[in-house]
Amino acid sequence: MSFSAIRIALNLSSRRRPRPRRLPQSNDCKFRFAQLIAAGLLFLASSATPARSEILIEPRVGFHGVFQLGQPFPLEVGLSNTGRPVEGILEVQVWKGGATKGGAPYLANYRREIFLAGQSRKSVQFTVDPDFISRPLSIKFHAAGAKAQREIDLRRHFSPGPVLLLMSGSSAFSPIALTALPQSRRLVTVSPGELAADSRALLGVSHLILYDQSLRELSRAQLLALDHWLTAGGRMVIIGSLNYALYQEPALARFLPVRVSGAKQVSFVPAPDKNQPATALPGVWTQASTVLSGKALAEIDGVPMLVETSRGRGRITYLALDIGRPPLSKWEGLPKFLQPLLAPARAEEPLPRTDWSDAVFNQLIASPKFIATYVPSASLFLAMTGYLLGIGALAWLWQKKRLAPRRLLVALVTFVTGGTVAGYVHFSHGGNIPDGVLLVSTVLENSGEGFVDTQANLALFSTQLRQYDLQLERGWIDLTPVTSRARDTSEPAVITQDAGGASRYRLPLREWDYRLYRLRRVDRFGVGAEFEAYGDRLVMRVNNRSGKDLVNCWLLVPGQRFDIGVVPRGASLRQVFPLSNGQVNDATGAARAGTLNLREMTFADKTRDILFHSSMFPRDGDARWISGAAVFFGWVKDPEPRVRIDDPRIQAQDYTLFRAIFPLPGEEEE
């Protein structure tokens, strides 16, 4: 810009200049000197104009400035470029770890490569997850010739309780009807475009309320994010409206537990208050529908009025009444009527945790089978044996004087040198030695209705100094490092998020270094296990509608274990097992309190053995199976990877176990 400006300016100045006359020599010098000064001043003036791109950062935190403390939240970064086109990196730095996580604080970088056209604006969405907010969040844009930075104090934006989102396509609907909420819970009205495309950004949202809202505008990533948020425990409240056609659109219908067929006016009789007579509200608009899934909790004139269904850990509630139109919109009792729909979810019993620590990893790496995955121990053994035999043979030839000493010396040097070089090439570049090994140990906890709670434990270890790109499957809830190795590395982990909500973790690892992580998600998995206890019998039904076979399946009950074998895909199984009510006769004939024989379980694969006993069913395990329960488990054959590294130099190992735990009734309960 500056050079072209100078050129134009010089051209203009030369055009304006009168045709030079022949001047005396001294005047000619003065004129040239003045010309130089003028050109210099012009250059300085032109360089004072903006030669660089000027970037302005405008962040928008959470949902209209609100997010729930301790949960991930969306961060929208608006970038305005008032200069040249520029390509650079947008980086968001948040603080992780700290006292709440029991480690030293460390930085996590969220990064995205951005191209900004000249004189343009762009909006970039991130999902950030700081562990503490006493230190500011920092946003940086850096490129050649452009730099901008902004810091945000997150303490101004947090809410101690979860956020409720309202999406309403009708201006007639007033959110005042929903204001009967405790102060810790904030209600925010959002448009479909503002909904995050990453399910993790919605984890701080307890309820999403939809009224008269078309979801056609939502992208596939946004719909997927809603789906994952629901299965992870989100609550969706869909309120019917006169515009019933909106509820027949596939984007919204996929969430509805009913099939909406029309609308009609009914007389609504709300539940009366104490000592108050019931008064009917005539002319209330309601949607006519038939129930597809879930349970109709209330009906009005033969049509379902309130239907509830679950999806994974989440719940969808459908209210057929149009509360945005009179007479209900003017009804005083409406906030109280809606209050139960927006009640916070009951705290569910936490799932049995798997153990994942340095101690477990120590056992894994010490097992010879595991060592063989990253060290060519077999070829090293062969090479050593061959070398010793070769040296022995040469020594024997020497002593027997079969060959001339000079020849034998040449043979010895050639043998040793050749062996050294060949071995070096084989062991450093060949021999299928991976640069690293990614081990994922997953437990799929049966949640019923085709959903499982997934706890995946990751170990990534490296035989090289290099970067690793972990690609996480969409829908994960939480990825936490087990050991605070971040403090030992000079370079922090970089998280790259694309516009669709997918995340990649870039981790730098040294030679023979490792990192451990825990990952959580709620997932669809077509295996269901149901139990019914009848006195001294236990009926177990296993239905495998997944695309994977379950192998090495066992049922453990106190004092006994039963080998189920394989449950192939598509198969259903119903078996009755004897129960000894927690008593089992030992060799002496005396009855002793039965316990699960978890310690006696062994598998042909040593790695499975270690994972089963140390991680999936640790010795100081959950009270549920210690105090007496039926446990069904099976290993998933060829499981789908939940974390990928697209690099053939990194070996991936996946171990997935499906389990269902059924607490057996004690004697007192019986």
């Binding site: 340095d358 990893f361 120590n362 790496i365 010490a366 010879p368 060592i371 990253y374 060290v375 060519p376 121990s377 090293l380 053994f381 090479a383 050593m384 070398y387 010793l388 040296i391 020594a395 020497w398 002593q399 010895l412 040097v413 040793v416 040198t417 062996g419 050294t420 071995g423 070096y424 084989h426 062991f427 450093s428 030695i433 035989t463 090289q464 030992d488 040294r510 030679e511 023979w512 270094d513 490792y514």
Partner: protein
């Protein structure tokens, strides 16, 4: 050197008659299992795990200890001692000059160290490749091994020349010398110890400096100077003892 009778005698006893093969057999038979089994040693420190990560370290340190120990014993003529003629025979009866006898013994020590290194080469290079050790570090380690073997080995020659007729005294001295300098020296000042130096080199760590009379000396400089002086002292004692021999 080709016609030097002392040199010819050593070559004949060790290689022609094969008495030296036992030395190389022991060396290989000890290093090979140590290297292979160290892959399966279950140990995990706070930062990194051992096993394959420490394969080169373990192999290099074992090789260092073995090479130094056997260099001392070979120089001290502990293998087939009855096959070697006494120094008095060469110096007095055969009228060999002291320098000639000395150089023959030093050259033979060099040959032994060279053969040891040649035989250990593949094991060390393979271990380095598996442990992802840079080639420069492997090369440096392969230079340090003969350096230590010679530095300590000349003391075997010195012992032989000083106490030739007292074989038990020589053996006791050699073993005490070896234990003190290879192991116990670490208790007094770590940078003097060759094992500590090799481990520091392989871990790319700096050795602690030595503060003396207000001056600070780098650990590496102290280590190398000490070993050069040690080797030179050993050679000086060896020459002195040989020169003393005709007077006895």
């Amino acid at each position: 050197m080709k016609d030097n009778p002392v040199w010819r005698e050593s070559l004949d006893v060790y290689f022609d008659e094969g008495h030296g093969f036992a030395v190389y057999f022991y060396m290989l038979v000890i290093l090979a299992p140590v290297e292979f089994l160290s892959l399966y040693v279950p140990s995990l420190d706070a930062q990194m795990w051992s096993g394959s990560a420490s394969l080169f370290k373990v192999s290099a340190v074992t090789a260092l200890v073995l090479m130094v120990y056997f260099a001392l014993r070979v120089a001290n003529q502990e293998f087939a001692p009855w096959r070697f003629k006494p120094l008095k025979h060469w110096l007095r009866d055969q009228a060999q000059p002291v320098a000639s006898v000395s150089w023959a013994q030093v050259y033979f020590l060099l040959v032994h160290v060279g053969v040891s290194l040649l035989l250990y080469g593949p094991f060390l290079v393979w271990a380095g490749a598996i442990a992802r050790t840079p080639l420069a570090i492997i090369g440096l380690t392969l230079l340090l091994l003969p350096f230590y073997s010679l530095t300590y080995g000349v003391w075997g020659l010195a012992t032989l020349a000083v106490w030739e007729r007292r074989i038990e005294s020589r053996q006791v001295f050699i073993r005490s010398f070896f234990v003190c300098l290879i192991f116990l020296s670490a208790l007094f000042y770590l940078p003097l110890n060759p094992v500590a130096f090799v481990l520091a080199l392989l871990s790319r760590q700096e050795l602690p400096p030595l503060s003396l009379f207000g001056w600070q000396w780098s650990g590496t400089v102290v280590h190398l100077t000490f070993h050069f002086l040690l080797g030179a002292a050993g050679y000086a004692v060896h020459r002195w003892a040989l020169a003393r021999e005709p007077l006895l």
